[in-house]
């Protein structure tokens, strides 16, 4: 009954081959350091068995030129570690791919065993997506057309009260006895017109930021101080900010005006049918009854509008200006620059000796994705294992283990992260401990070692993130483990399944199924995980090449910490930070869109019901 799926099988097998190639590459790189570390006297003496094998391998790969050994790196652990990791990945992918070929992937098996029917719906393709977008655009224009039609018909068919309402908002309501509503409409109109006349119009008119019409700070003679003082005139920051706010306000006004027109139409209809209109008292009552949701949402949505939407709109606009520490909008005005900032950040051109922005961006993006991947999946699998271990039958002191782990959640992260970061400092406890044991002779510079693109710091960050992340996963996984239908296990036991089989055939697929959306959100969350990186390493070790673009960047910097450094570092290039922010958004949106449509549980989880 298993359904063979060719495409996923091919994808997995190709990925396995790629992983194997990478593993071979790392092994290739690892050989010279290993041979070097053996420290064999090549000219005389008899090397041991292992040494002779390694030497043979070396001469096979690199030829007889033993002298080049001296130039080899000292450490081989990193290469060997990477090699092993990729071999494991390759094997895992190979197994998965072969199983896919046989048609026995875990989801099918689980569905078969449990009798749950996994809906085999057609997966949405990219074409479907564009079709959807297109129909949404069409629908949007059609809706606008309908609105205009409705406004026109209401005007033509309406009585004089309605017609007056088109100019004087709320007139119709007041004339028909709905005093409270009418007054509110009227008040809003008066406030809006007043605002526009006194402030709004000037903000809007300055919004094109035309430098010939604006004037920045000037030196003017002041009689009071008897000297030249700086006088500030236009403030482009405020122009942009209040311009955006005014546009919001205008949109709000148009919406309210439309509401006012609609109200008239509805009221006319009610009067025609001979019913009574709602009084002000009814309106007040509906605030806590029929329309209660509006009352509840008013405050939260206002907060989101002002403190989330408005800043985001503003910062998107900033990406098209040259707003920075020097062009701060007060002493030096900033203006629109079109797509220049995007061009700068994504161009391969660079000043001589400096790395291009595009290369730096690519480097940081690659590490960000790598970090998000490892941080998410190490936590996921290890956290699940710990949860299973703690919940196993016959394990004592379950509560104690859980409490110890949860301690990392209970203690504010900045304390534990900062402290752990200092533990691994050059004069920190870890180095002291290792030296005291006599295992190392010189302190290891965990956060400053730039070899292999700062691999040591990168691996360490991921490991420490495991320390932070496992407890969350443990809690979540425990909750889900409790929910796995017990009869699945019982039938498996009757069939004689071993513990490992039960784990790999029931527990793991079930968890994957349920936790797909969580994995996605934690992946994107990790991409923006500012705290862990900033408090642990601050982005160190320094990436000299990438730093030549302007701001000091490290090997462990994520896009988000880079953004922070650009915005707060020398020059405060806000415009560049906004461009990065927009790109981060685009990347995350793309990942979310793709993965979301691939998740097996999307159909069950999509509506949050």
């Amino acid at each position: 009954m298993y359904k063979k799926r060719l495409t996923p099988a091919i994808v997995k097998l190709v990925c396995a081959a790629l992983a194997l190639a990478v593993a071979l590459f790392f092994f290739y790189k690892a050989v010279p350091p290993i041979v070097k570390s053996l420290d064999v006297d090549w000219s005389g003496g008899k090397p041991g068995f292992f040494a002779s094998v390694m030497l043979g391998l070396y001469t096979f790969l690199y030829g007889d030129n033993i002298d080049s050994l001296a130039a080899a790196d000292d450490g081989y652990g990193v290469h060997l570690f990477a090699c092993i990791v990729f071999v494991v990945i390759a094997i895992a992918l190979l197994v998965l791919g072969l199983r896919e070929l046989k048609g026995t992937n875990s989801f099918n098996r689980m569905a078969d065993k449990s009798g749950i029917e996994i809906k085999k719906e057609k997966r949405p393709t990219i074409a479907d997506f564009f079709k959807k977008v297109w129909s949404a655009i069409l629908g949007f224009f059609k809706a606008i057309g309908d609105e205009f039609k409705d406004i026109w018909l209401t005007f033509v068919n309406g009585d004089w009260k309605t017609k007056v309402s088109y100019l004087v908002m709320g007139f119709g309501c007041i004339a028909r006895g709905q005093i409270l509503r009418g007054l509110l409409f009227l008040l809003f109109e008066i406030v809006f017109i007043g605002y526009m006349i006194f402030w709004g119009a000037s903000w809007i008119s300055k919004l094109p930021l035309d430098m010939t019409k604006l004037s920045g700070a000037t030196q003017e003679y002041s009689e009071i101080y008897d000297s030249y003082v700086t006088t500030y005139h236009d403030n482009t920051f405020k122009i942009l900010l209040y311009g955006v706010l005014t546009i919001f306000f205008i949109i709000g006004f148009i919406y309210t005006w439309r509401l006012n027109v609609k109200q008239n139409k509805i009221a006319e209809g009610i009067i025609k049918s001979g019913k009574k209109l709602k009084s002000g008292k009814d309106d007040l009552r509906s605030m806590v009854d029929d329309q209660f949701h509006k009352t509840l949402l008013a405050l939260p949505l206002l907060g989101i509008l002002v403190f989330t939407v408005m800043p985001i709109v503003f910062m998107i606009l900033v990406a098209f200006t040259n707003y920075s520490g020097t062009n701060d909008g007060v002493s030096n005005l900033f203006t629109w620059v079109g797509l220049d900032n995007f061009n700068e950040l994504l161009s391969w051109k660079s000043a001589d000796g400096a790395q291009s922005y595009a290369a730096t961006f690519g480097e940081i993006l690659a590490w960000t994705l790598m970090w998000a991947f490892f941080a998410t999946f190490t936590n996921y699998f290890l956290g699940m294992l710990v949860a299973i271990a703690i919940n196993k039958k016959g394990i004592r002191l379950k509560k104690v283990w859980r409490t110890i782990l949860v301690l990392t959640i209970a203690i504010p992260q900045f304390i534990s992260l900062l402290y752990v970061s200092k533990m691994f400092a050059k004069n920190g406890i870890v180095n002291g401990f290792l030296m005291d044991l006599g295992w190392i002779k010189k302190a290891i510079d965990f956060w400053g070692d730039t070899r292999n693109n700062g691999l040591m710091a990168r691996v360490l960050v991921i490991i420490i993130n495991i320390w932070i992340g496992i407890p969350y996963l443990m809690l979540i996984a425990t909750g889900i483990l409790m929910n796995i239908p017990a009869d699945l296990y019982e039938s498996a036991k009757i069939d004689g399944a071993t513990g490992w089989q039960q784990y790999s055939k029931i527990t793991l697929p079930y968890m994957m199924f349920i936790m797909g959306p969580y994995l996605l959100t934690s992946f994107t969350g990790n991409m923006n995980n500012f705290n862990v990186i900033y408090l642990l390493t601050g982005g160190n070790p320094l990436n000299t090449a990438a730093s030549s673009t302007g701001i000091a960047v490290g090997h462990t910097d994520l896009l988000i910490t880079w953004l922070f450094k650009i915005a707060t570092g020398s020059g405060n290039k806000y415009y560049q930070a906004s461009v990065i922010g927009i790109l981060v958004f685009v990347i995350i949106a793309i990942i979310t869109l793709i993965v979301y449509s691939m998740l097996p549980s999307v159909k069950n989880e999509e509506d949050f019901q």
Partner: protein
Amino acid sequence: MKKTVSITTVVILVLGVLLSAFGGFAIANRFMANPIWKVDHEYLTNKFIYSSIGIGCLIVGILLVLFSAISISRQASEANGPDSSKHHMGMRASNAISNTAIHILLIVISIIWLTPFVCIVLQSFRVDPLCQVGYVIPKHWGFDNYVNLFVNKDDAGKVISTTLSTNGFLRWYLNTLIIALCCAVMQTIIQLCMSYTLSRFRFKARKGLMKFMLILGMFPGMLSMIILYNVLKDLGLTSEHAVPGLILVYIASSGMGYYVSKGFFDTLPKSLDEAARIDGATRAQVLWKIILPLAKPIVIYTVLTGFMAPWGDYVFAQYISRSAPQGMNVAVGLYNWLSNDQINQCYTKFCAGGVVVAIPVAILFMCLQRYYVEGVTGGAVKG
């Protein structure tokens, strides 16, 4: 049936205890400033061998103790239960071995998880020197670091003032406490409004609103920091007056985090609402009189997360307080103590400060852990 525990097991047990005691003692001795057991370093010159033997002994000892303990319990239960068949015994033996392995794993994990916390507590009691050192157990113990948190001293060691009015730890602590309390209350109200509405009401814009907020959440929050700073500066809520500004920022956008509590409200049966509505209750009365009493776990969860988040926030607080000491929260203040120019005088003070911050928060969390776990697990499963 008389002899329930074999002699061999007892011997193994004793051996294990002795070995682990020796190993532990050897390791401890290594880290003590004044070793109890004076080792002739001429004799044991190689530190590496010495400490490795210690650790090896400890691990092997623990293994032996665990093994013997398990075999004792197995032998005892076998003696009591005569019905155990051979197959059953095999199963039980493999089970016992895997359980032993898991216990050892859990012990190792616990040690790893606890080490930083134990270290920070020990270091906070170290009097001298004040900078970072490579050993854990202090040579001189004392409460000086804790005292220094709360009083300012001049160079001669005379107390000048408490740190409340000026620019010290107590100020930061109170700032953070105020922020945390306000956030806990306001965030709960806002999130409950949001999640209850999105869970129970079916209005036209509902789906669109949820999608819109999902998209908003994909923008890095860091972006809005710059503009929010400028807006707050216009309102006069930065630097020394950063506390109200921070509260405003935290609570204003808290509506976005409605997912967990919405998941909870979704699980409450709708028939409750409907029954009350038939009896003539308004929507507001339904929320106030019927839903809220049932929502106690999620209310506690929201209060708890709202209270805990401000203690750990560094970025916003740092950006908005602009290194004005009166406006900082503990995270910013303590972070500064670890900056390169202060770490040598303030490292142990940081440890003490960390302990003072962590203990109340951790205790509160531990007491309400149950609700937190419910919220977290529910939230993840629901999406």
